[in-house]
Symmetry: C2
Subunit: 402 residues, 2 copies
């Protein structure tokens, strides 16, 4: 199998056109995106577990159950959340109008929204802009679309690959937006992916689930997400392969490329988080179970005292031990080893002797490093990515709506 | 029942002497405290649920099971945590030495430590200072002791009451230290309480549990605490009442005064948190169960986006809805009402119409306000106190050990 990284993102996939324009939801900058698939695509999706859901998302949850998907309409600047029946009607009206323009059925249109919660969607601005948006659709429009879905992100995030699997060439591309602090519940995460493979819906869903588990779910976690989180993958069959119906070689090749795409997008998300100066990989091994490993990794990754210590290049391993201890899992503190990259700072639950502080501070000053925690209790392992908690983050988030 | 607030704290209780001195664990400031009871007292205690525990605390957990307590020795500046068998031996040595000086048994000595984790306790400095510390003991030494247990706190925290119950006069006094961000796991919380009542150990434990549930546990939560958290209450019987053996009138009078003492200390803790500008009471009602109400209140209280919005006086109710939704409890978003003090900003899951923003911003600019969340699902209620997340907090905690 030969994999080549392509320029661009979702429109590097044959049959996918996209556009992104400014329609006036935000005071400036692109705020409306459209992705269209020719022919209509099989669609798989993963969505927020938050009990409070965007009205746009509710409609998408309904539509994605039906047949094929022709288009995805995305707006930024307004989450269409906590907007009640009126918000749902707005969403429905948009899909009906867009379906008319595209000569398709409303059920083949999916929606996603991101931005401020609780404010009325400026419906007319969007409606009035649809003809212009459709006119802008092109096979090089992925970048504009990737820009139009951003909120507080600093850079657009897109990636695409082509893959030659035993003479069959297929493509996978996508775009994402994140920002927020990039951790449980703190960012609306949107991601739109496409492939030209012909694949059954259940297998597409399975591949997407695994790719997301190994990427976005290491930074934003199920059951602990924003009101609007959405990952959708389209598969339009333009590669003309025999439909993938089982977990065979081609499926696994697709899985590999899809996972690579989501991994790159997740890393871009982390890097672009509000006030993020460094990305930290928390690796827990030797836990009694995988569940325990995950819980401990998340507890460490979410600890404000740990995150502020990272910000200050402070090798305060006591805060790591405290966070490990409060996760509630069975541990034996006297067994625990902790290293920063390859530098051991804790062995057997106690500080390593010798002058390691300067080297530790050097590691923490990098924009990327790894915290390895070995509990020596069992075989459970987990990886979570987190970031430092900076003064800039607080400044930014204390004045978002105003 | 007549209750009078007294000056001072723990030494306002007859039979209690205390002292606080500088022994050199910290570069400056008092760092060693002693509380002595004449006669030895019945003791009750509540301790951290963290799996990583201070060696001093391990010894106290052992000693408090035995007979009466003569004294509590507390050091600040070093947590004696993750210090291994040597740390436990240090703790044991201190209790033996102090027991010799006070002519009592080592089991009648309790210990508490707070400060940096993982550093060797400077044993000799403490040992050498014990004679001086004992010499300083006095019935007006409570303030010095309250000072000596502080770490990053700005002010000492003490309170005392006398109570006349049907002609019987008894006293309850105490001191505490907190700081940190004053929320789950983020501060070592120490609290030492005393009364001159004669009361059975099991009833003293019961009263203490209830008082802590209604005060400290609203800010620092069981199962989610620092490595050294300790609350101890002594009862030395100097009031010469017939021993309290049941949940009668005198017990309830004591409970009321004890709860008042812990409530005041908890509020002082919150107010003195690192970088805290305001204290917010999160009141959830109408949840399906008390457990659900607590979980939702804590999720809101811990949300970084909510806390930074409070810091910025930003009435961003969407963040409240998002936090409510991600708590994982059954809710119907369309039923939720939210008010700030008495100002409704959300009704039926949607923004209240009209120009309420200016009034909301005025409420949020106060140093104390209430967020009321009514889920209208059932009868579950909970109250949690939290604080804003400030730029000062991040600055402070990024440079604590260095």
């Amino acid at each position: 199998m030969r994999i080549i990284r392509l320029a661009g993102g979702i429109t590097a996939v044959p049959g996918i056109r996209a556009a992104g324009i400014h329609c006036g939801i935000k005071p400036e900058g692109k705020d409306l995106a459209l992705i269209v698939s020719d022919p209509p695509a099989v669609a798989a999706g993963l969505f927020t577990q938050n009990k409070v859901k965007s009205e746009s998302l509710k409609l998408t949850l309904n539509h994605i159950k039906y047949g094929l998907t022709k288009a995805i309409l995305i707006n930024s600047g307004n989450a269409n959340c906590c907007t009640g029946p009126e918000g749902y009607n707005h969403a429905r009206e948009l899909t009906h109008l867009l379906a008319d323009y595209l000569n398709t059925s409303p059920h083949s249109i999916l929606l996603a929204s991101t931005g401020i919660i609780g404010k009325r969607l400026p419906l007319n601005k969007i409606k009035d802009s649809l003809p212009r948006l459709i006119q802008e659709l092109s096979t090089s429009g992925g970048g504009n679309a990737a820009e139009a879905i951003l909120t507080t992100d600093k850079i657009k995030k897109e990636v695409a690959f082509s893959c030659d699997y035993q003479g069959l060439v297929f493509h996978v591309g996508g775009m994402a937006k994140g920002a927020g602090m990039i951790h449980p519940h703190l960012a609306t995460m949107l991601c739109f992916l496409a492939t030209d493979l012909n694949i059954e819906k259940t297998l597409l869903q399975k591949a997407l689930k695994r790719a997301v588990d190994e990427s976005f779910n290491r930074i934003t976690i199920d059951g602990d997400t924003s009101t609007n989180d959405t990952v959708i993958c389209l598969a339009n069959g333009r590669a003309a392969n025999e439909r993938i119906r089982r977990d065979g070689g081609l499926y696994r090749a697709f899985q590999e490329v899809l996972s690579q795409v989501t991994l790159i997008l997740a890393q871009l998300l982390l890097r672009d988080g509000e006030g993020v100066n460094k990305v930290i990989e928390i690796r827990v091994r030797g836990a009694e179970t995988v569940k325990a490993a995950r819980l401990i990794a998340r507890t460490v990754a979410n600890s404000l005292l740990v995150k502020t210590a990272f910000y200050g290049n402070d090798p305060n391993w006591g805060r790591l031990m405290m966070a490990i201890g409060r996760a509630g899992c069975r541990i034996i503190p006297e067994k625990i080893d902790i290293s920063l990259d390859n530098l051991y700072i804790v062995k057997g639950g106690m500080e390593v002797k010798g002058a390691w502080e300067a080297e530790a501070a050097r590691i923490l000053a990098q924009d990327r490093f790894c915290v390895n925690i070995d509990l020596k209790m069992g075989k459970g392992e987990a990886i979570i990515w987190t970031c430092d908690l900076s003064v800039e983050y607080v400044k930014f988030n204390s004045h978002y709506t105003t």
